[in-house]
């Protein structure tokens, strides 16, 4: 659906994007991860044809450079900076963008405002909306013309936790509808929804691939925290037995907690192994490991901000 091949963007001598290639299919979510200034927004703007670049980007086979307006018909963009015509009413703003996108149907405008919960506020000026509501409106405007590719630039940065949850739910829905989604982030939150990750730093690709591949590259493992009786006579034996298992990578003790690093799907076996050794598990905690929490480990020191 979206294909970028050897994309390079230079500002004079500065190389903002350096030979980046990736592909996103229908119903796939690509997460572009990287610290501030890594080149994530620049890459999105290249996809939209707002910046000149070297290399090729195609949307469903349409060259972004040669037929930018045609390619943009298939794209919807939610920018990082949530800016609209603040003095216009919400309804007038939606009508304006509907006309620009060639959407004639007033019913569609109404449905869209109703689905976002903004119909009751349709006469209010856009400037009166909170950041979260504004983002909801922008996402609605983006979906007006049913784009096949959705580009979201740092959508979690400007909203509270509730807003973040809503965006992630929306993303899941768009994914189910078969749209290709590209989402950039430098903060934790998108790990659960992305299928592919493109980790970039200083404009260069550090890692790219399906989430499992990048996780393997990062050697990411689940952590299970067990509260055990450390004075029990079999405590040391149980730990030694756990260490022999090939899906257990590390065991450490921190205060009253025993921390076992293991493959995510082996957590129940760890617990049964402990119980079989004669120890009682007083409490259990697990740490969810998602790529967005650890991608920075791939970034060479000095690149992250």
């Amino acid at each position: 659906m979206l294909r970028a091949v050897h994309v390079t963007k230079r500002y004079g001598r500065i190389v903002a994007i350096n030979d980046v290639s990736f592909e996103v299919g229908r119903g796939e979510v690509l997460g572009i991860l990287g610290p501030n200034g890594a080149g994530k927004t620049t890459l999105i703007k290249c996809i939209l044809g707002l910046l000149n670049f070297e290399g090729d980007i195609t949307i469903d086979g349409i060259d972004v450079k040669k037929f930018s307006a045609e390619a943009r018909k298939k794209m919807g963009y939610v920018p990082q900076r949530l800016s609209l015509h603040d003095k216009l009413s919400i309804l007038d703003e939606v009508r304006l963008f509907a006309r620009l996108k060639g959407v004639q149907d007033d019913q569609r405008v109404r449905e869209l405002l109703q689905s976002t919960g903004l119909w009751v506020r349709r006469k209010d000026p856009v400037g009166s909306l909170s950041q979260g509501m504004k983002q909801r409106l922008i996402l609605a405007l983006t979906l007006l013309a049913d784009p096949e590719v959705l580009l979201l630039d740092e959508p979690l940065s400007n909203v509270d936790v509730e807003g973040q949850m809503e965006i992630l739910t929306q993303l899941e829905e768009r994914k189910r509808e078969g749209r290709a989604v590209v989402i950039t982030s430098h903060i934790v939150g998108i790990g659960k929804v992305i299928d592919k990750a493109l980790v970039i730093s200083s404009g260069r690709v550090v890692a790219y691939g399906a989430i499992e591949e990048v996780m393997t590259l990062l050697k990411l493992r689940s952590k299970i925290y067990l509260k055990l009786n450390q004075q029990h006579e079999s405590f040391k034996n149980v730990l030694n037995e756990l260490r022999t298992l090939n899906y257990v990578y590390n065991i450490s003790v921190s205060g009253e907690w025993t921390i076992v690093e293991c493959d995510a799907d082996q957590k129940p076996y760890i617990i049964s192994q402990v119980l079989r050794g004669g120890l009682q598990v007083e409490d259990v905690m697990t740490e969810e490991v998602t790529i967005d929490k650890y991608y920075f480990k791939l970034i060479p020191s000095g690149d992250s901000s």
Binding site: R72, L84, Q104
Partner: protein
Amino acid sequence: MKVPPVLVFVIHNFFEGIRTRWVLIYTAVFFMLSVNIPMLVLISARYLPPDYLEAYLTALMALSFPFLPLLSLPLSSTSIVDEKESGLLEFILSNPIPRLSYIAGKLLGHFFSTSLVILAGFLIAALLAYNIRLEQATTVLPVVGAALLLNAIMLSLGTLISILSKRKVTALMIAIFTWFLMTVLSDIGSLSILVSVAGSAPFVLFFVAVNPIEACRLLGIYGIKNVGLTELGSVGLILRHLVGGGAWIFLLSVQVIWLAVLISLCLLIFIRAEIS
């Protein structure tokens, strides 16, 4: 019916233009300038001279033309750069809209909204205060035409400043400085000094032609019937002496070139510009 994007932008920018606070204030000020009080006193006392309309229009042009750019320059010079700064421009242009439609819609929309203010100033004042008859419209139309031409040139200049600037404040400062430069240049006194320097007549021609404010004022005067030589001013007289009866064609041609060059630059630069 599908509305072409350029028309959507024209309508949007027209309403945005007339809603701008600065334009509203300017409309009020311009209307007050048009309805000049001494003339009203003369009307009420029935002491109007036979050529009152010509005299009024000449005086009005001398008074209002230097201030006309204060309507169009601030409005246009901040329009694109403001959207650039806020991030709205990138969101708008991420839609399937040709950039030509956006910039053409901006120019035309602002032209129509500011023209409405100018027309309101000239025509409503002329109709209401002076009870102008339809046959006298030919006297007013060249003045309105010259004002609209000046307005179009200034809007294009302001839009170009807006395209090239990165910050709204900088754009506004450049626009105001340009206005100051042009009004100082158009000052008859300063040009008289130029004239007094031997062999400077070509300079005068050049300055008159490149300065749209003075050139459009002269164009307006040439369009009024029964105007004496004194209304042309020293610059107009020299121009008449050098170019003869074709002075108005010369002025009009140069102003049209101004407009064409500015609009072409706006389109060319904006279409190729990177939106970062």
